[in-house]
Symmetry: D2
Subunit: 349 residues, 4 copies
């Protein structure tokens, strides 16, 4: 692999956490050569200045998008904020493949996008051709896509757990309650008071109750799978850890379905997927057991309430929830083994 012509990659948003994790993993990818790092506010700085942990890499300094020689770029990983991504991606040459980690191309309906993200979309024509990058469920489309819109971190954890249940009609689509817990890195690198160590540490609280922007994305995909409109309760909580996302989904079983049926449906769905592990009965997923890796662990449990079940899923929000899944999609788009550069085992303790 490494002897072939490398695929030249640019990273937009190289000073954010998803950008950093993309570089961390991508720099070790045998087929990738990172040729451009874009971070407007830090243009001119060395990568080591914004991310000292990446200082051992021999990479170019940070640039603005305008300074990049796009002729030397084959693929762009985009870790820009939503609202910014679509207009930057619009400027890229057609021949550059795009793997977007923002929210800008995830929602199929532009009206829904405008409603939840508060602005018109500047690139509707690109949007129309974008493929939703939930790898395990859209492999074929991803392989041939030019623009892949990687799911949000929460939607990744939720949809991996619930999509097979929605498709197989094993759960009722109108009574889904998702209580989600995220580490602080999920909020990005922005300077906010509630994200300071002294404030986020040693405490926990919900946030964005009823209004988190990942809601429409989850409803969209569950709706497609269930072939019916889906409305969910999605309540995220901030938990004092850096990485990790834990979604506890409370679902109503359809007909006579049992937790064992749910587990079987998940096993059927992911039997050949290298990164999704359906836990055996009684084994409880924990975020620390997927930390730093591209794995998703899913467990199914009986509920004390009759006719219901609990589905628990965990990921590392920056890896399977963002940069790792982006690389997994990159691998598919380039005919590589899905696990290339993602073989790292979880870092525990």
């Amino acid at each position: 692999m490494a002897s072939k012509q490398p695929i030249r990659a640019a990273v937009l948003g190289a000073s954010g956490y998803t950008g950093a994790d993309l570089i961390r993993l991508g720099a070790r990818h045998p087929a990738i050569k990172i040729t451009a790092l874009i971070a407007r506010a830090h243009a001119g700085q060395a990568l080591a200045q914004v991310f000292p942990h990446l200082g051992s890499l021999d990479l170019p300094a940070l640039l603005t998008a305008d300074e990049v020689d796009w002729a030397s770029v084959d693929v762009a990983f985009c870790g820009l904020p939503h609202g910014t991504a679509h207009s930057e991606i619009k400027k890229l040459p057609d021949r550059v493949k795009v793997i977007d980690m923002s929210a800008d191309f995830r929602l199929r309906d532009l009206g829904t996008y405008a409603e939840w993200y508060g602005g018109e979309h500047s690139a509707p024509e690109l949007h129309a051709d974008a493929v939703y990058g939930l790898t395990e469920h859209y492999r074929d489309q991803i392989k041939s896509a030019r623009l892949v819109a990687c799911p949000g971190c929460y939607p990744t954890a939720v949809l991996l757990a619930l999509l097979p249940l929605a498709k197989s009609k094993l759960m009722e689509p109108e009574d889904i309650i998702i209580d989600a817990k995220s580490g602080v890195s999920g909020a990005g690198r922005a300077l906010k008071q509630n994200l300071l160590f002294s404030e986020a540490g040693e405490g926990s609280s919900p946030y964005g109750i009823g209004s988190h922007r990942h809601v429409p994305e989850i409803e969209q995909e569950l709706g497609i799978a269930a072939d019916a409109p889906v409305t969910i309760n999605f309540t995220p909580h901030l938990v004092p850890m850096t990485r990790g996302e834990l979604c506890t989904s409370y679902v109503r079983l359809a007909g006579t379905a049992t937790p064992a049926d749910l587990r079987k449906a998940l096993n059927d769905a992911y039997g050949t997927s290298p990164f999704v592990r359906v836990m055996e009965e009684g084994v409880i997923p924990a975020t620390q057991h997927v930390r730093g890796s591209n794995y998703c662990h899913i467990g199914v449990f009986a509920d004390r309430l009759p006719g219901r079940a609990i589905v628990v899923s965990v990921i590392d929000n920056l890896v399977k929830g963002s940069a790792g899944q982006a690389l997994q999609n990159f691998n598919l788009m380039h005919g590589l083994d899905e696990t290339t550069a993602l073989e790292q085992l979880p870092l525990f303790p």
Copy 2:
């Protein structure tokens, strides 16, 4: 107050976390004189050896229960493990009032106790007269009780949030899902691998799914309030913080009830309760805002799912969830102001 004859208190289980917090707060109580500290496995040691943070106190060394001169004790705070508490409490002289922080006297039905706690109760006669010590809801009974069974930490957070809603028939009692998050101190001081810093830190997971021992206690009290049998989903999670408990309760509204109705019912229930604060619309409770204090904060939120609401409650599990509530009950039992020795404001940051 301080000039009167002090009330002489013994602490059983002085080497555990609830014992320690009882001492921390009780040692500053103007009406209490701690005369005996019982910790069988540590008998003979100074308190400073098991809890260096309490080393400034001039208190007697740890004893076994047999070594205590019970004639010099007026009230016993019991922080022993369930299953041990009932047999130790049984031995105490009748004139000693008992404030039990264990589970042994919380369940009204001894069959339920045997089922969930795996053993016969050795003191059914005491059990019959025990008063459930959820202060805000049982003030009158507590005032005249000899034995008060303080609620578990989770039940305290849940019941303070949901009892007024059950009593007022504003929520449907058969569709209650409680997703709870607890700091690690909730598991006590026992040496368990999953409680080590390196394992509990930087991660989160559910535990005891469908089988947590606080379930029957919650169902018992909700059932009484709703005047109907209640079955709940209660799913606790371990969160990497030391103190704090956060319960997110997903409830179905009865009839045409609204979140504002729920908030009003809570305000009505706690208008004169000094430690329960019902947050204004839009203000989200956080455990770090009650840390180290006896406060409980409750918030009510609209659900995206029609006909439902979300009720969020937070406490410090060792204070309002245990030692603080025990002292609050002590105050009631002795005709003191409910807030005596509990005035400490939350420690933030």
Copy 3:
């Protein structure tokens, strides 16, 4: 006490951490009535908006200093940043006593102040009369002072440990190495990337090597005590905890002095001081054992290097290192028991 006329207090810098801890403790002080909260950038907001954990208090809204009716203020606690404090304090009426928690009045030499804090001092006349507020060493002066300059958090921990050794000539003043470790709240509430939970958590590093602004303050006081110019190595480190400061001082013993001599000198110095505890031989101080309290624990240990000793001191940086010591000084200035409103025992676990 409470029946007497209350002492009316203003808090300048009410939106910072030292301001918050001053309010947390001061609001429970039986002789204090907080009549004004000043926080320029948040003027008009309720205290609960900047510090929800203080939302149970019935206090006035935040103001600018100009809006305050200073006629209704007897004492001003100042938690403003250095450089801002001196000009704000200058404006206060002479009859208002001032307890300053900033650095602006700590250094006796204004040239040194200008050198380390980068600016001229606007109130040299006030500066001349300021008393250094290290309570245990300046009690008499504090009692009669109008303006008390409370020490920095690091100087408090270091000087409590080393001043008695310098005064008693038990350590050589020219070979002092202080390796200090601080929790993140020591850096205040400013929004800085390295203070984000995701960056400060799960890691440790030195900072301000050779240039920390607390150096001249420590050297000044050690120099006075030793009656000789003192130059120190002071190397602070950031540690992933919110509260707590740990100073490990490596000192050379003078003449034939032994660690036991050092311990005796400390015991002699603090025998009647309620908040300084000199640990018995072999007992190691830990920041978690003073958390949330006004205590300072000090331990002395033999060094493997002959002729040297190790002195370890710990405090809560926001309490004994700032707001607690300020109140301790307030008590002295008003003829109250030094421990008033500071009786809280450490919060552990």
Copy 4:
């Protein structure tokens, strides 16, 4: 590489943290096939039961050492506790190469071993031929060794920083003060109260003052390098993070040496070493920037005390401080590139 006959590896102590990290990294090593996992107390269990994060690996169940077919083992990685390791290693067939991560073969003098580790050494003949596995300083000996004694975590961080300075006579060997800070995983997986999340979290303290077992190892190697007996002050501290070790070494400059001279000596020593990075002037090492990786970062700083300097070094205690360095040595012993299977970049945030 992968196409050649794999080198068959056993891991002794597979249920400890160093064992786990050896498996985490070794399982992805292209030349290694793990054929046996030894963990006496857990024999019969699947690896996933003791380390769920490694559950995706297809590895044999845990065994006792007696159950292993040693004919199918080429190399043994030993993560047993000191005192146990030497007697277990003694039993291994001569043809099995041994990479020991315990302390049992690190000290060249068996009397010193007995003094510090409290017991006779059962394998003095093996001991005589053991090579000290500080990779960057013993490469040639390691390449041809049968038994490599990997350094302790602290000695690794200290010696990488100080050995070049000792060898080049740039620092005085009799005045070295090392203030070390370690994450909690450095204490291993043993169940100790002070390692519980609720006790180790949010606090910091020194431990083992003057008596830490890594002292003689550091003194031994510094003594060899300086060609003179060396006695050091080594004071370790426990810091509330899981991984990471930070050593702040306070040294006296020899003659007219400057911090720049020290930095140059370090650069000269490590110019071709892939994992040791000497930071540019002014850049401060931080443990979070090496987390999960085999890197060591070293910085040199001027001291405010004339004639002295400060040397700061950071590693991940479980990687470069243990399992990573073991694999680095494995690579050397087998003629592989030193970085094989250790290319992982640090996990930040």
